[in-house]
Structure formats: C-alpha cells, structure tokens
C-alpha cells in the first residue's frame, strides 16, 4: 500500500514511495536523513518535531507524510544559510537559550514563525508563542532572552 509523494524540503524536491501511515517526522528523519527534527512526546504536545509546512509551523509527528504531498517544507537544516547562522540561532547561542539542545530545533522553528508575524514581541507574547514547545532544561528564561535578542538583531538588519 505504498503511495508516491513529491515534496519540496528546504528547497529541494524529493520523490518517494511511502506507507500512508508514515508520519511526516519519520519521513524527514529516516527517508530524507534530516535528523535535526526530533521526536519528543508523540502526542502533539512537546513541539520537538516542529517544522514549517507551507510557511506555517506544524508538529510533524501529527501530520502524515502523504498529507505533505505536493507541499513545501522547511526544517531546522534550512535555517542557517551557507554557513551563516540565522539571527534566531545567534540569539539562542548568545543568550544560552539551550542546554541539551533536543527541543531547540523545534523551538527555533516556532520562534521563526513568531518573529515573522510579530517582529517585536513582548515577553508574554514570546511565552504564548512557544506554548507548543516544551523545554525541560532551561526554565525558558534564557529562551525568552534569546528571542528578544534575535528580534532586536532582526529589526536592526
């Protein structure tokens, strides 16, 4: 019961045959080898698997690979370009917005969505925007600071 799908991931087109039950996150990680997207909770809570589908963040453990057929995807691997870190990545690095790093790729994708919609978010708005991303290490304070720092850098750019 394989289905042929064609997706564009990080600007590159892929064609694969997949089982309908294959989750998008497994497709990205195992079929395409893009292991930067992680699996944390499997119940649409933790957001470690967050990727962009047609420009919107989704939890890729709750999307079937077949649903992404014909669609455009962006993962953490596309955030830096030509070795230059994105200001959000710089923000996380500078402000120690990560410890074990497991939630970080999903967190960065959510922040990318946030700063795209709202270039100057308040602390409450930042916390609200990352409600769908759990971090067990940082207590979130340095993540909030990382986002503030990234927002500042992006406005200045």
């Amino acid at each position: 019961m394989q289905r042929a799908i064609k997706v564009t991931v990080n600007g590159k087109e892929y064609e694969r045959e997949v089982e309908p039950r294959m989750l998008l996150v497994h497709f990205l990680r195992e079929e395409l080898g893009l292991t930067g997207t992680h699996i944390g909770c499997e119940t649409t809570v933790c957001g470690a698997c967050t990727v962009m589908l047609e420009g919107h963040t989704v939890k890729s453990c709750t999307v079937l690979a077949v649903q992404a057929n014909g669609k455009n995807l962006e993962t953490i691997e596309s955030v830096a370009s030509d070795g230059d870190l994105h200001p959000i990545q710089e923000g996380f690095w500078n402000e120690h917005g990560l410890q074990c790093g497991f939630c970080t790729p999903g967190m960065i994708m959510s922040v990318k969505q946030l700063l795209g919609d709202n270039p100057n978010p308040s602390r409450d708005e930042i916390r609200h925007a990352i409600e769908g991303n759990l971090c067990r290490c940082t207590g979130y304070q340095h993540i909030v600071k990382s986002v503030e720092s990234a927002a500042k850098a992006m406005v200045q750019e």
């Binding site: 019961m1 649409t44 077949v66 969505q113 769908g132």
Partner: protein, 286 residues
C-alpha cells in the same frame, strides 16, 4: 506510538470524497488530523481508509452573506483567529479559536474537524452554542443544515452519519450593541478547557436585553446555559446580576470528573467563569 496500516485517499472534489465514504463504511475523514492522528497512533482508531479533505479547495473559504458567515469546514483555527472578517463581525469565534491548543495545533486543526470530533472539552462548541451556529453537512443524498445543539449529541458523538461530510459552519454576523467574551481555565498539560464559557450580552438602557451563554468542559457536551440566560434577561447590567445568574450555570448538568477536576470543582468553575464571561461581554456591549 505507531498507527496500524490503512489505505489513504485524497479526493480533490467533494463528490469524490462522498463516493469514497459511501463505498467504504469503515473509512474515516481526516481534516486537520490534530485529534484523529494521535488516536490512530495509539491504535485506538484503526480505520480501513483515511479520506483526506485537505485537497478540496472549496472547503477553505470564509464568506459573509445576508447576516450569515459561512466558514468552510477545513478552515484552520489559525485562519479563524486571524480572519479580519470574523474579528470584526464574529469576535467571539475568534476568541475561542485563539485559545485552542498552541500555535502549531491552530495552524493545522480545523473547525470542521473540531466540531465533528465533539470533544466535550473543546473550545469551539461553547462559542458555537452561544452563537446559535449551524452545521452544514452533505452526503450523496443531499445536504442538511443542523443546529449545533442538535448536531453534537453526546461526548464524542454527533449527528454526522458515516457517509456525510461537514462542509460549512454558519455563524451570525454579530449585531451592534452586543458584547462577547470567552473565558476559560485550562488543564495545564493538554491545554484542553476544564471550563470554557462563551457569552454574548446585549444591553438596552442599562438592562440586559439579550443573553446567550455557551459552556464547554463541564458536561459531556457543550451546552447553552438557558437558566443563566433567563436570569439575566431584563435585569440591570451590574455585577450582582451576573453573580446571581451565574449560580445556575451548571444546574441540571451532570458535571464530568477526571484527574484534573472533580465534578464539584468543575461545576463551581462554571459559575465563576460564567460570571467573568458575562461581565466581560457586558463591558464590551456598553
């Protein structure tokens, strides 16, 4: 947490989708998947086939016509949340949508999927009850327009037949002079409402001339708090009125119980948040 095998189709027209459904009674409709896919991953749902409505473009529109706003069933919570039309003409629905889950879930989940799932703790049904919303369903036999109150039958149970698809949700354009509010307390892990109260309050010369109150999370389905509405109508718009009227918010309702809230606590929260929602709505009506 891996789903059992199933077949998959992604029809591009409603007619095709209806055909699949009538051919395969064990098929399940996949809208945003934010409820169905987790259940399938736990193997609590093992459909023979999943019919993905994502490719049917007709189901995505929001349009206003003669005082009715028609929201395509595949409209995401995010689209409702950020719809200019709805912000202006049906802010209550926007308030309910913006409280659902988190950003990622709102980007993916749909209003049709939420209504069809009929989760007793979902946010939309409270607002839809308060709005006297209607659900348009289509089958190969034709179409029906069902009031929300009749559509949601019980916990996770609706009037939707296996061969039917929800195509639209109809809500009224809010009249001037009516204020609305959605107040909720959520279960901290899942983000589901423990209690969510949607209120629409109209005022006339300092008195309440119109009241609609929808409550989710308390009973096995969202309901209109008719006793509250009755206790409000014609009364002066002041805190005492709201407090007294709210006392009957959960009257006659068998309040649910789970780890996070006993039935007593739920019933109590219903009164608190009903009062808050009414006060906030009345404040906006003035």
């Amino acid at each position: 947490m891996i789903a059992a095998s199933f077949d998959y189709s992604a029809p591009e027209t409603l007619a095709d989708a209806l055909r699949v459904l009538s051919d395969d009674p064990e098929a399940k409709i996949l809208a945003g998947g934010q409820s169905l896919i987790p259940i399938m991953k736990l193997r609590l749902s093992i459909p023979s086939q999943v019919v993905d409505l994502g490719g049917i473009i007709d189901l995505h529109a929001i349009a206003e016509e003669e005082g009715i706003i028609r929201i395509g069933s595949m409209t995401t919570h995010e689209q409702v949340e950020h719809s200019e039309l709805l912000s202006e003409k049906c802010p209550l629905l926007v308030a309910a949508a913006s409280g659902i889950g988190d950003v990622q879930v709102r980007n993916r989940g749909t209003i049709g999927g939420s209504v069809a799932h009929a989760d007793p703790a979902a946010d939309y049904p409270a607002a839809l009850q308060a709005l006297d919303a209607k659900v348009k369903v289509v089958s190969s036999a034709g179409e029906k327009i069902i009031p929300i109150d009749e559509f949601i039958v019980d916990a996770l149970t609706t009037a939707l037949e296996p061969d039917e698809i929800i195509t639209e949700i109809h809500v009224p354009t809010e009249s001037t002079g009516i204020g609305t509010a959605y107040e909720t307390i959520v279960q901290p892990a899942s983000g589901y409402a423990i209690v969510g109260v949607a209120a629409r309050i109209g005022l006339s010369e300092g008195n309440i001339s119109f009241a609609r109150v929808g409550i989710t999370g308390v009973g096995s389905k969202a309901y209109r708090a008719l006793a509250v509405e009755k206790a409000l109508e014609g009364q002066p718009a002041k805190d005492d009125t709201y407090g007294i009227a709210s006392r009957v918010a959960a009257e006659g309702v068998e309040a649910l119980e789970d780890l996070h809230a006993s039935s007593e606590y739920r019933a109590h929260l219903a009164t608190v948040f009903t009062c808050r929602a009414i006060a906030a709505a009345a404040g906006r009506a003035q």
